[in-house]
């Protein structure tokens, strides 16, 4: 057992971070705020060149042949840079669609499960070329299908909560397209896991921004970060962040190493698949909490400045809200974990 990033994984992370520092700095990310399209194709191509969307594709298919651990490492780095666009969908699609792996085609995700009587939305309607459509929870063992964006009837939403996640309202539920995968479960699990990894990145962004501000900002002749009221808020956020981060790492590792899921499952009276689901749902639950809470605390630590558009914390806060909603809420995740607690 060595439950730490391997040297290769560290190298992957550092390489990606260095690319992101250069090409996805905050100014670059913010330059598309509030626009109907938020993905700059040339930058997207650079992510593709770095292998981001081919990370899960097999080497035989020209991919990197890496696992969820590596994909999660990449997503955390992307989240910590607030990179917009259909990252999770494109990585998952990249496993089987060369056009997604290469970055030519941008693939969003849509789950029919949420909603009920409320309106249904489509994320990134002017950026995605197509969507992986996950069946609703009542639909049994329905497949995941791929639908072209052009086939969907939508109305643009003029203002979305997250200025980096433009939206359209769907005129009707999305019908099935061509089959992408006959089993929806592993796809949904990967989508939740990678979304959780991105949320860990968001939480980290919020926390370290708040820490930096707390060191710099002085009131009452002291850095505000020397007041316990501030220190303790931030310490609690670190605890949430680390719990989420390690939960993501655990879920990713046992997805990649199913023999571990077998052993860990036995201890808890679960099959390997159930054990993996419990780990993934736990990771998403903790990552939702970490990202939302870190953003809220970071706004609070920034005081009035945190309430201004200029300070970028609100971008992390709004994205966290989006990600805690679309593929299954924290409440859904908690229900999944409870059902697998025996």
């Amino acid at each position: 057992m060595n439950f730490q990033l391997s040297d290769d994984q560290v190298a992957l992370r550092d390489g990606l971070l260095s690319l992101l520092d250069g090409r996805y700095d905050l100014d670059a990310v913010r330059s598309v705020e509030g626009q109907a399209s938020v993905v700059e194709r040339s930058r997207w191509a650079e992510l593709a060149d770095a292998g981001v969307f081919a990370i899960l594709a097999s080497e035989a298919d020209g991919g990197l042949g890496l696992g969820r651990v590596e994909a999660a490492v990449a997503l955390e780095a992307l989240g910590a840079h607030l990179v917009p666009g259909p990252l999770v969908g494109s990585i998952i699609a990249g496993q089987r669609m060369a056009s997604a792996a290469s970055g030519e085609v941008l693939v969003g995700l849509h789950s029919r499960s949420a909603g009920g009587s409320l309106p249904r939305l489509l994320e990134l309607p002017n950026d995605c070329d197509g969507y992986l459509v996950l069946p609703g929870t009542g639909e049994g063992a329905a497949p995941v299908t791929y639908v072209e964006r052009s086939t969907l009837a939508t109305t643009q939403v003029p203002t979305s909560l997250d200025p980096l996640t433009p939206l359209a309202q769907l005129a009707a539920p999305i019908a099935d397209g061509e089959e992408f995968s006959s089993a929806a479960d592993p796809v949904r699990r990967d989508a939740l896991l990678l979304t959780a990894a991105y949320e860990v990145g968001l939480a980290s962004f919020s926390l370290w921004r708040a820490v930096a501000y707390a060191k710099d900002r002085h009131q009452f002749n002291r850095p505000i970060g020397s007041f316990q009221a501030i220190k303790h808020l931030l310490a609690d956020e670190l605890a949430r962040l680390e719990q989420a981060r390690v939960a993501v790492a655990y879920a990713a590792t046992i997805t990649d190493q199913p023999e571990v899921a077998v052993i860990d499952g036995e201890v808890n009276g679960l099959s390997a698949t159930e054990c993996t689901w419990r780990a993934v749902a736990s990771a998403k639950l903790l990552a939702d909490t970490a990202a939302l809470s870190a953003a809220k605390t970071a706004v609070q630590v920034h005081g009035g400045m945190g309430y201004t558009w200029e300070v970028p914390i609100h971008l992390a806060m709004k994205r966290a809200r989006v990600l805690a909603t679309t593929l299954g809420t924290s409440d859904h995740m908690a229900e999944i974990v409870a059902a697998l607690t025996r």
Binding site: S117, P119, D162, Q219, F220, V299, G303, G304, T325
Partner: protein, 401 residues
Amino acid sequence: MDLRATPAEEAFRADLRAWLATTLPTLPEKPAHTDWQARRAYDTHWQELLFAAGYAGIDWPLEAGGRGASPVEQLIFKEECERAGAPYVGLGFVGLLHAGPTINAEGNEAQRTTYLPKILSGEHVWCQGFSEPGAGSDLASLRTRAVRDGDHYVVTGSKIWTSHAEVADYCELLVRTGTEESRHKGITWLIMDMKSPGIEVRPLKTISGSTEFAELFLDDVRIPVENRVGDENDGWRVTMVTLSFERGTGFVGELLESMRLLRSLTALAKDTGAFGDPGIRRRIGQLSASFDSLWALTKRTVSEAQVTGIPGIGGTVFKLAYSEAGQRLADLSMELLGEAGLAMSPLATSGVDLNNDEWVEAWIKSFNLTIAAGTSQIQRNIVSERILGLPKEPQVTGGSK
């Protein structure tokens, strides 16, 4: 403990309710949130109507031209206006709630005569120049400098969180007249004419996308010495007088609004089926209990003010508790809206009264509840020191950064 209205209170409420019923339908349509000139026109028109009916300056003393209403009547006024959907005090709030009362209490006769009537009638709009980029919670560290030059102060510096500065006529301004280290003891309170040369107003966009606030940049702005309220370097005390007017019923409108939102959220939960989940129901029940108790707390605070002239401990506790309950309400609303809570423009619905844009805006604004008008951290300091009598933290002296 008596919650029954006196005959005078009942009469006050009945008169007001009748007036609101006849007056509100005459109002023009509300202007767009971003159209500042139209908003000024709308709000000052409402103030004119209040003035004509004798409701302007409801809490001001009679001799200052106000209504001189009792604290209970002030509460009834806020309650009835909120329930009838009357306009908020709007752009008039700095003049009516801060600057006017300060000038009345601490200004000289000439200042009272010059400024008070036009605040009451709605003719003049005021803004506030207190906070600075480097002086928020620690207001006493403010650095905007005023140098005496004959009959004028020459003021240079910057202010932040100035509401509707774009359309204000005057600004209540705090400046440093003492040494850099003088803190509370070197601050002066000035009336600044917003038409003075050297003032630049720069809108400040909030995370909800609005530009309700602005930054003020002051570059050698000349303010006549006669515009000083109180003595030079005595501005901190003058300000504290103003702030003491803020307590008590300060957040009544917001509380009543939250109670209305909770009812509407409960209806939505019934529409969507979420009310069938006992976990959701309990959260609704907890919020309902919190808001009801804060409403009762308000009545107790007002009763104390009515009898003793001092609002007691309720006001400080209120802010702390209300701001957290408000955030819990906002979080619950987003959870119940689900995906619909990700859109800030209205969505098309069938059958369900969604108002998603209103909810989303309320959620974003809820982040400000624990920050604006004193962060919850500062409120907890106040509660623990002034009410519980716990010792202050050791002070750090010396140059601030």
